[in-house]
Amino acid sequence: MTISEVLIASAITLGLMGSVFGVVGPLQRLFAIQPEYADMHQRLRAALTAIEKDLLAAAPPVMPYRTGLRRHDPDAGVFYRADTITLVPVAWDPTAVAHTYYLKVDPAARSSQLMRYDGAESDVPLADHIDRLDFVYFDAGGETLPPETFQDGPWFPNETDRNRFDTDLLKVKRVRVAVRVQAAIPSLRRVLPDRTITLDVAPRNANHE
């Protein structure tokens, strides 16, 4: 074997290895991205399905704050949070319970979760890495109801009742929900941008007049 044969063989081997690594590199990234992409969509679907189902069946009023046994917002004088909604079902099915949906942000871990509170003792996570949850409220004429209108009364049943609510909430006929999800793996967030889905839901039980 001559030195030129060795050099040619080495060059061919290097070329082949380069080609193989050239294919494997992008494939590896593709293998990491594709399941993450599917996972992002699945988390979006899970979040929206839960909220939409409860919104459709919610009885008036739809409340833009948390209510229940623990951390009852009206106790603290809070009657509006942009990322919170409490949905109470109609008194039909005795097994149906109220649900509060809200965003739980953990700045230390730089992550956030969509949470659901059952009005009693349980706060459960529904979806991870949901970094935005917004609710916008509309009246029968399609006009946006500003947050101030939900916090200035008049109150039902009175100003001191623990479960009081602003009667302007009864004007809510449509709710716009915006959910934004991000990739769970931080290194993939550059190639997999956040996905946002916005949908409008008209609560059926708020529109029966």
């Binding site: 074997m1 494939l27 399905t49 069946a57 039909w92 059926r204």
Partner: protein
Amino acid sequence: MRIMSSGRWRGRAKHAGGSERGVVLILVMMSVTLLAVLSGALALVALTETAVAANYRDADEALYAADAAMEYVLQEIARVEDWTDLLATAGLSSFVDGEPSGLRDAGSEPIDLDQATVDVTAAATPPAGAVDEPSVLYAFGRFADLVPGTATGSMTYVAVWLADRSPAPKEDATEPVTLSVAGVAFGGRGSRRAVEALVQKTDSAAVRLLAWRELP
């Protein structure tokens, strides 16, 4: 410059070269197999995601189809003077595709209308203080026939049941004043969604929706 030029080495190299025939083929086969497995795994992930998305879309379509069928029936029963007639016989709606029983083909699997009536009666539980009467099949057919032109190609099948939900106790002869209207849609890939409305008769030719819910 030559290296390894002794006769002994050349002999070995020649012998080794002879036994290396077909090595490249094996290497190529291994590389192709590896790439095929990788591509297959990637395709599987993509196909699974596509199937999940399709199931989600079908379920969503079924929900809106069930709601639309229920709304159609609400319009129809609003014009009926005495609701007793609606509950006396099955299939009185103008939207029917045959006898109110038996099997129907909805694409993925057949629908047994008799079994569906049993299922709806079990699921559509009455609210507190209302009579618990069995559901009566009222309207049924392909969703594409309910909304011609807009649901072209849809294999979704819809059916609507009525049940008396008047306040209890109730005399048999009296006219129902409250009805349960349950709409069910059987969509693609075995999807099924059901909704129910509780409606009350008003003085005008309209019904008042008391409550709405999604059935399991």
